[in-house]
Each structure stands twice: as structure tokens, then as C-alpha cells.
């Protein structure tokens, strides 16, 4: 079931995707598919130890193997780097960051840390040679547990002398002391600890890279399966000392990212450096087992959250203490991930300025963490939504009723939150009401009365989750206040060609989101042309030199709006040409349906096609006006956008086996105006299942020595079709008032909302047995243990 308001025009149509034919026929080329004659293949030798001193690396035997052209240790390449691997988000001035090179020098710090590499004429020859590299390691004690890491019992990186990277606080100066008072005065309070297990993003396309140097002049093209070609270009130039204008980065078809390709990786830098050094193209394709170890992980937090409430259950204060697991090193935005959640620990609820957040992040001997679909925001939403259920139990009201009492009233928008950020628009009651209707919330509660009786072995549970997604990263000044190393703008160029076909150049970098389709729809609506007449150019820094890429559900609300604004500029220029031709005042011209008309004189009109040709020939343009129809916009959003919604999950739990069956899943999401509801629903479906997978299936498991136990897809449980339910989607539409399209974002909403909805449903089903919490992932074994523990071991 899909519920959408009526829309007219191109925007809002369920238009099929233009990307699909190439992807459906095998015509699309991912990085590993590119034919590159003469390329050398890179293979990386990875540390089998979580922490070990590298005593010596003997590459001589490997170097003499068939097909091998060169072998390098970390020390061999130490001089190749103009600087260490970049971290763009030094969240505090005193943040500690260990030096991190593409290949470890002196000490390896997680299983998978690159130690040496081979270049060979084939991928198999390169991999074979890895076995012949003789590395002598001195194994050192590894640190896996976050609180153990915090104690500095064992310090991982001698150079920084502590495992603590930073402590970042969000305290509201004007209300200092009020938080303690609110807890002292609270009618009800809850204090909970939640563990955000480590997750492996597992985009279906493993990472792949190819660096192709030009024979003369020093130019280089770097192909990579990346979400961030523009950021990668800047960072590669800085790290390798290549003049930025001599570097071109291309992201061909990219097979999913979910944040894991929002990074600058060792293999990208190695390919570029070795291509530069050898003069030959160098390529690399990750194996899945390598990816599980050496592509970033997500989540990895210990969350302590306390809520204070008045006698009606209305929130009066929230206090949060986090420990963030950085892994062995800081990758591109590793330290900033917990901060993105810091603003969301009051969810969609009214809270006075009585909020106290502090996060301390630590190094461990595990794969570095970084942004994974939602990045900080799913964690925050999980904590507040789980804690709200605890508070509801404490107060003795239904969880949905408690939420309704706390919703920010629609009339309060725009709403200045406790953090100082302003939420743009919302109607939480409407979304919750629609979700409750769709799932028959009252009916489920009635069924529970008869089904969840003493002795029942199949117990019914319903979980509610409401959310805000702080997305559309981001106003550059806000990023500055968070010490982020770049801005949050997006660039667009709209170019009307002589034959009235339109080229759009965008700085966004799609990897499954359907930007070519959606952006063509925006231009079609704005310019009065068919979407088929619009070409969307992207993900190649030679074609789209300016951009900040795709992550944080930013592409539409920043990049799409930039395109709309560039269209406006083109129309303004075209209007001058049309007015000149029609001998009218530009102010008297109206533009709609691809035609300029003189107001009040419908016979005096000129189509955009004619204007485009006039602009091209330049035979008769107004004095001083430049030929051609083209405009560029760089848009820095004035605010984040704030999609919201309510998700509800219905489960049945078998108390004898601990097995959870998801019976129904209802997602009501409000992302403002929808450009293409087909794509919106697809984003919700995928996001919901990814969040549900955290709740039920997925965890990157390490043993006490720091060995990753889930290093393949046979061990790491990405769910299959048979493991997950259908999703029933509904939508409310509350346009954002901060941009001309009225749009928000939808890429991460499903992931943010679904994890707590699923766990809340399981705990709801088992609450009659005394279960208050179930850790994630809620495997049958884990659920059974929770029941058994609640029953005093009598299960």
C-alpha cells in the first residue's frame, strides 16, 4: 500500500529509472569491469595480528616470482607520501590521531592492516606472491573492549600515549545545573545502557580502484568505486603531492556504498602512487574477505542514556554519555560520527534546554569505523526510542501515547531545539496516526490481551519508533562550528544546447539512488521540457569539477535544489533574449510549459527551443549579453532538512526457541515533497531492511585476540529475501520551508527508524515475562537467553 497526496506535473510522478537498462543488461561498467590494457595488478598483504610490531619484511622471494614486477613494504614506500592518510574531521582541538599510512610502518594495528604489497601482471600472480613475502612479527597484546581501551591499561599507539582520541561535549551554557535539578525533581526517570554492535556495511560491489597515468606530462586518472570522487581528488592530491589540476577522479557505475565508500582508502592511494612510480596503470579489486577486514565498519558505541520526566511523562531532561569505538585509526570522518547523533537524542520530542551530551572516543585494535548509513543518527534514535519505551513502562502508559504527549506540536515549527538547531517542519501526530491506522494498533493491543496469556509460547509484540533524520549535510557554517574540514554546499550547472537538449552537471555522486532520473525530472519541471531531453553528467571531476558528493541524504535537498536554482538563472537569461526578440519588457514575460509569453498577449510567444538557438547563434542578442544559455549555482543550504516519520513493527516471538518472526512492518515517512515516489519507496524499503538487519542478524564479531570472526559473507549475516518481511509504506507530506522544492531527504530514514521499532516489538512481546531489554542482534539464542534470565533461569 502506498499513500501519496496528488501531485501534478513531472515532479511527483513514479517515473521509471533511466539508469536501469544499462544495469539490467550488463552494459554498465563498474570499476573492476573497465578494460585497461597493460595494467599491473595490486595485491595487499594484511596483518594476521590485531597488534604486532613489524620486525622485518623480506620481499626478495616474492619479487622473483613469475609475473611479479615489484614488491614493497610499508617502509619501502614511506617516502612516497607527502602526508599521512587524511582525517577531515578533527572534532576537538586536542583530538589525538595516530599517524596512519597506506601500509603500516613499524607496527600493525588491526587484522587487515596493510603491511606490504605486490605489483604483478595478473591478479592471481599478485595474490600468489603475497604468500612468499616473509614478515617477522612480534605479536603484542590487543585491545578489543571499549572500557578496557579507555583505562589505558594497554596503550595501542605509543606516539599518542593514550587510547583516548577525544572527549566532545554538547552542553547548553544557559541551562548549566538545570539538568541535575531536572533529574532531582523528576517524577519519573530511566537510565539505560545500549550497545551499538559493530556492523559491516557490505555494499554488494566490493571496492575497486584503477589508476592510469598519462604517458607524458604527469596527468593521472583515478577510477574508484567511491561515493566521493571530489573529496577523493583533493585528498589524493594532498597525500601524494600530485598537483590537483593534474588529477582526474572518475566513479564509474558504483555498486552501493552506504557510507563505506565515503572515504579515502589505502588502496586508492597505493594505486595512484604506484602508477605514478611505475608509469603503468595499476588496478586493484577487493575480495569480500579483504573488504570485511579493511573497508570501514559502522556503529560501535556504548550508549548510556538517562531520561527525566514529569508526572505526565513529559521529558524534562536528557543526559547521554557515549563511548565511541574508533577502531585502530581515524579514517576520513571517523571521529565525527557520534557528533552527528548528538543533536538527535531528544528525538521528535519537546525538551527544554536541559540536555547534557558527552562522547569519549577510543582507539581499539579493530578495523577503523566510519560513517555507515545514518552515521550517528540511527544510534541516537535507537537510544531515545528504546528509552522512551522504558519510560512508558515506568509511567504506566502505552508507548504510543507517551510519544504523543511528547511530540513537538505542529504549530511550534520552525522549532528551535535544545541544541540550538532549528527543525524546519513536522507533523508527528499525523504520521503516527497514519501508521497506527495502517497496522491497526488498537486491534493489535486487543489481540495481545488474548494471545499473550501466561504459558503462551507465541507472543505478539508491537514496536513503535518515531524519528527525525537530520540530513541534507550541511550548512557550511554549522560544519565549521563542528570543526569539520570542508563545507556542505553543492554545485550545479544547467546548459541548454542549441537544439534545446539540456545538460545538467551535478556535484552529487550517485551509487544506486537514481539521480540521473530524479535530476532530469527537476529540470523537466523547471524548464518545461521532457525528462528525455535532459542529460545528467556526474561523478567525473573532468566533467563535473565542483562538488561535495553523495552521503548524509544530502543529494536532493542540497544538490537537487542547486539544480533548480541554476534552472532559474537560465530562465532569467533566456527571458532577456526572448524579450529582446519579442520587443517586450522582460518583466512582462511569463515562462511556463517551455514557452515565454508576453502577459496579456498570448499570440506573442517564443519557445525555449528558439531562445536556445538564438543564444547559440548570437546573431541578435541584447547589448552586453553573453552568448549561450548556461548557468552555474553553488548552493549552501541555510539549514539541515528534517524528514520524520513513524514506523511500527509487529512480531511474534517463540519463547521456546527465541525465534522472532516479523509479521508486518509499516513505515510512514515524511520527506517533504517527493520528486519520484518510486525511488522514495525504494529507499525506504532498503533502509528499513538494513536497520532490521542490525536488530536481528548482523554483527562484526571479534575474538579476544582481535581476530575478526565474521570475515566472509558466510559468517556475516546479510539477510536474504527469505529472512525479511515485505514493507508497507505510507507517506505524509510536510514540505520543507527552507528550499524552493520543499524537499527533505530519504536515504537513511529507514535505517534510522527500523532498528528500534524491531527491538521495541520484541521487548513488547516479552514484557509480560519480565524482559526489559534484548541486546542486538536479537538472534534466537540471544532472545532465549533474555527470556531465561528474566525468568530467573527457569526457562
Amino acid at each position: 500500500m502506498t499513500m501519496t497526496d496528488d501531485t501534478t506535473g513531472v515532479l511527483g510522478q513514479r517515473m521509471l529509472r533511466r539508469e536501469d537498462p544499462a544495469l539490467l543488461t550488463g552494459e554498465a561498467k563498474y570499476t573492476a569491469d573497465l578494460p585497461i590494457p597493460g595494467a599491473l595488478h595490486l595485491a595487499v598483504l594484511r596483518s594476521p595480528y590485531a597488534r604486532a610490531r613489524i620486525v622485518s619484511v623480506d620481499t626478495s622471494a616474492a619479487a622473483s616470482m613469475p609475473g611479479v614486477t615489484a614488491v614493497f613494504s610499508g617502509a619501502d614506500l614511506a617516502e612516497a607520501w607527502a602526508g599521512p592518510m587524511p582525517c577531515a574531521w578533527p572534532v576537538t582541538d586536542d583530538m589525538k590521531s595516530p599517524t596512519h599510512y597506506p601500509l603500516a610502518v613499524g607496527q600493525a594495528n588491526y587484522v587487515g592492516d596493510g603491511v606490504a604489497c605486490v605489483l604483478a601482471t595478473s591478479a592471481s600472480a599478485a595474490r600468489d606472491a603475497l604468500d612468499a613475502i616473509d614478515v617477522e612479527y612480534e605479536p603484542l597484546e590487543a585491545v578489543i573492549d571499549l572500557e578496557d581501551a579507555l583505562s589505558d591499561r594497554v596503550v595501542i599507539h605509543d606516539e599518542i600515549g593514550t587510547n583516548r582520541s577525544y572527549t566532545w561535549d554538547l552542553k547548553i551554557e544557559e541551562s548549566e545545573g538545570d539538568v541535575d535539578r531536572a533529574f532531582a525533581d523528576a517524577a519519573y526517570s530511566v537510565k539505560e545502557r545500549y550497545i551499538q554492535q559493530r556492523l559491516i556495511p557490505a555494499a554488494m560491489e566490493p571496492r575497486a580502484v584503477a589508476a592510469i597515468p598519462q604517458p607524458f606530462g604527469g596527468d593521472m586518472t583515478l577510477y574508484s568505486s567511491t561515493q566521493v570522487p571530489h573529496i577523493l581528488k583533493v585528498m589524493t592530491a594532498l597525500t601524494l603531492g600530485i598537483p590537483e589540476h593534474q588529477l582526474r577522479v572518475v566513479a564509474p557505475a558504483v555498486g552501493g556504498g552506504f557510507g563505506s565508500k565515503l572515504n579515502v582508502y589505502a588502496e586508492e592511494l597505493l594505486c595512484a602512487a604506484l602508477a605514478q612510480r611505475t608509469g603503468s596503470p595499476v588496478r586493484w579489486a577487493e575480495t569480500r574477505s579483504e573488504g570485511n577486514q579493511a573497508t570501514i565498519h559502522g556503529r560501535g558505541q556504548i550508549q548510556d542514556i538517562e531520561l527525566a520526566a514529569d508526572a505526565d511523562g513529559r521529558l524534562t531532561a536528557v543526559r547521554v554519555r557515549l563511548i565511541g569505538d574508533m577502531g585502530a585509526y581515524l579514517q576520513l570522518v571517523t571521529p565525527g560520527v557520534p557528533l552527528l547523533g548528538a543533536f538527535l537524542y531528544a528525538g521528535v520530542y519537546e525538551l527544554p534546554k536541559t540536555y547534557d551530551f558527552s562522547c569519549t572516543s577510543v582507539f581499539t585494535n579493530m578495523t577503523p569505523t566510519d560513517a555507515y548509513r545514518g552515521a550517528g543518527r540511527p544510534e541516537a534514535t535507537y537510544a531515545i526510542e528504546r528509552a522512551m519505551d522504558s519510560l512508558a513502562a515506568e509511567v504506566g502508559v502505552d508507548p504510543l501515547e507517551l510519544r504523543r504527549r511528547n511530540f513537538i506540536p505542529t504549530a511550534s515549527y520552525p522549532y528551535e531545539a535544545m541544541t540550538g538547531l532549528v527543525y524546519d517542519s513536522g507533523d508527528h501526530d499525523k504520521a503516527a496516526t497514519l501508521a497506527a491506522e495502517m497496522i491497526d494498533y488498537a486491534g493489535v493491543r486487543a489481540r495481545q490481551e488474548t494471545q499473550n496469556v501466561p504459558g503462551a509460547t507465541k507472543r505478539l509484540g508491537i514496536g513503535v519508533s518515531t524519528y527525525f533524520e537530520m540530513c541534507g549535510l550541511a550548512p557550511s557554517r554549522v560544519l565549521a562550528s563542528l570543526n569539520y574540514g570542508a563545507g556542505g554546499w553543492e554545485a550545479a550547472t544547467v546548459r541548454v544546447l542549441p537544439t534545446n537538449k539540456i545538460q545538467v552537471v551535478t556535484g552529487t555522486a550517485p551509487h544506486g539512488q537514481g539521480h540521473e532520473t530524479a535530476w532530469s525530472m527537476i529540470v523537466a519541471e523547471k524548464m518545461g521540457v521532457s525528462p528525455d531531453d535532459v542529460d545528467v553528467l556526474h561523478s567525473d571531476t573532468a566533467i563535473a569539477p565542483l562538488g561535495l558528493d553523495t552521503y548524509g541524504s544530502r543529494s536532493l535537498s542540497v544538490g537537487g535544489v542547486a539544480i533548480a536554482m541554476a534552472c532559474d538563472k537560465v530562465v532569467d537569461k533566456a527571458k532577456q533574449i526572448a524579450a529582446h526578440q519579442l520587443e517586450a519588457n522582460p518583466d512582462d514575460l511569463e515562462f511556463s510549459g517551455g514557452e515565454f509569453r508576453v502577459a496579456g498577449s498570448p499570440d506573442r510567444a517564443m519557445p525555449l527551443a528558439a531562445v536556445a538557438f538564438e543564444a547559440f547563434t548570437a546573431h541578435n542578442l541584447p547589448d552586453g549579453l553573453e552568448p549561450n544559455l548556461e548557468a552555474h549555482t553553488t548552493y549552501d543550504p541555510p539549514n539541515f532538512s528534517w524528514p520524520f516519520g513513524t514506523h511500527m513493527c509487529l512480531v511474534e516471538v517463540d519463547t521456546e526457541t527465541g525465534e522472532v518472526e516479523v509479521l508486518r512492518y509499516v513505515a510512514v515517512d515524511d520527506c517533504g515533497n517527493q520528486v519520484n515516489p518510486l525511488i522514495v519507496d525504494g529507499q525506504v524499503h532498503g533502509g528499513v531492511i538494513q536497520g532490521l538487519a542490525q536488530a536481528l542478524y548482523e554483527e562484526a564479531v571479534y575474538d579476544a585476540d582481535g581476530n575478526l570472526q565474521t570475515s566472509t559473507l558466510a559468517e556475516y549475516l546479510v539477510p536474504a529475501a527469505s529472512d525479511v518481511p515485505s514493507i508497507e509504506t505510507g507517506h505524509t507530506i510536510t514540505p520543507s520551508p527552507t528550499n524552493q522544492l520543499g524537499v527533505k531527504g530519504i536515504g537513511e530514514a529507514g535505517t534510522i527508524a527500523s532498528t528500534p521499532a524491531v527491538i521495541n516489538a520484541i521487548v513488547d512481546a516479552l514484557s509480560g515475562l519480565g524482559v526489559r531489554d534484548v541486546p542486538m542482534p536479537a538472534s534466537p539464542n540471544t532472545v532465549w537467553r533474555a527470556i531465561n534470565e528474566a525468568q530467573g533461569g527457569q526457562q
Binding site: 536501469d20 539490467l24 552501493g256 532498503g686 546479510v718 536474504a720 529475501a721 525479511v724
Partner: protein, 152 residues
């Protein structure tokens, strides 16, 4: 070892290393890169092709085991006139793909599923596709695509 494999109606004869996987043969010898590699444990199904008419993961076979076989890859599914195969068309119309990486394998597995069971229930589709992983769609629209194709 010399092998001869027919792929999408075209005969490919090559001298391959015994350890060469069929998926490597398809991608590197035949140059058909629509068949993707998503894992190294035969878990993901991105490399699914039809071998003598039945879906199989081409990473689970050595190329030499396919000697004499007839293989269809995603490149062989559309008509000679460029028209999409009904399953490809159903995936397009039902938004059954996003990044597209699992899609070739998913289409091959789904067509094989319908060949065996032309009118599956939703549950049968979900079980029938359990060897193929997708990270983007949450499977909802993939299942809808297969059901729609069965209906048409």
C-alpha cells in the same frame, strides 16, 4: 587446459589454468563483465548464470568443469533487437534494482525460478532467491518484480 564453452551462443575456446573459476573465464576470457563478483564464499549470487538452462553461481565451478557446456549470462537475456527480457522488463517496471550490482545474478536466478515454478507465491519467491543477496532494495521490489513477471 584447453576448454570450449558456448556463452550466449558464441563458442569460446581457450587454454586456462586449472584453478580458473568459471566466473573468471566469463569475465576475463569472454570479456562479459555483466556477471559480477560479490564475494569469495559462494554466498551472494552476484555471479549467477544459466548453465545448460539452470541457474548456478559461476564462482562455484572451475572453468574446466564447464567444458562443453552452454552458458547464458545477463548479456544474453535481451532480444537481438535490444528489447529487454520479460524479467528485465519486470525489474525495471517494479524498481527491482538500485545500484544494479546484484541485478544480473538476481535476474538469472529469478528466470530459473519461474522456469521451475511458473506461478510462485511470495514466500516461494523469497525462498527461491535466498542464494542471492541484495543490499539496496530490501528485496521488496525484487519480489514484486518476480511476481509481476510470473503474472504477465
Amino acid at each position: 587446459m584447453d576448454i570450449t564453452v558456448t556463452i550466449n551462443g558464441k563458442t569460446h575456446t581457450a587454454d586456462v589454468e586449472p584453478r580458473t573459476l568459471l566466473v573468471q573465464f566469463i569475465r576475463e576470457q569472454a570479456g562479459l563483465t555483466g556477471t559480477n563478483i560479490g564475494c569469495d564464499t559462494s554466498s551472494c549470487g552476484a555471479c549467477s548464470v544459466h548453465i545448460d538452462g539452470e541457474a548456478a553461481k559461476s564462482c562455484t565451478l572451475l572453468a574446466v568443469q564447464a567444458d562443453g557446456c552452454s552458458i547464458t549470462t545477463i548479456e544474453g537475456m535481451a532480444g537481438d533487437d535490444g528489447s529487454l527480457h520479460p524479467m528485465q522488463q519486470a525489474f525495471m517496471e517494479n524498481h527491482g534494482l538500485q545500484c544494479g550490482y546484484c541485478t544480473p545474478g538476481m535476474v538469472m536466478a529469478a528466470t530459473s525460478l519461474l522456469a521451475e515454478n511458473p506461478n510462485p507465491t511470495e514466500e516461494e519467491v523469497r525462498l527461491g532467491l535466498e542464494g542471492n543477496l541484495c543490499r539496496c532494495t530490501g528485496y521488496h521490489n525484487i519480489v514484486q518484480s518476480v511476481l509481476a513477471c510470473a503474472k504477465s
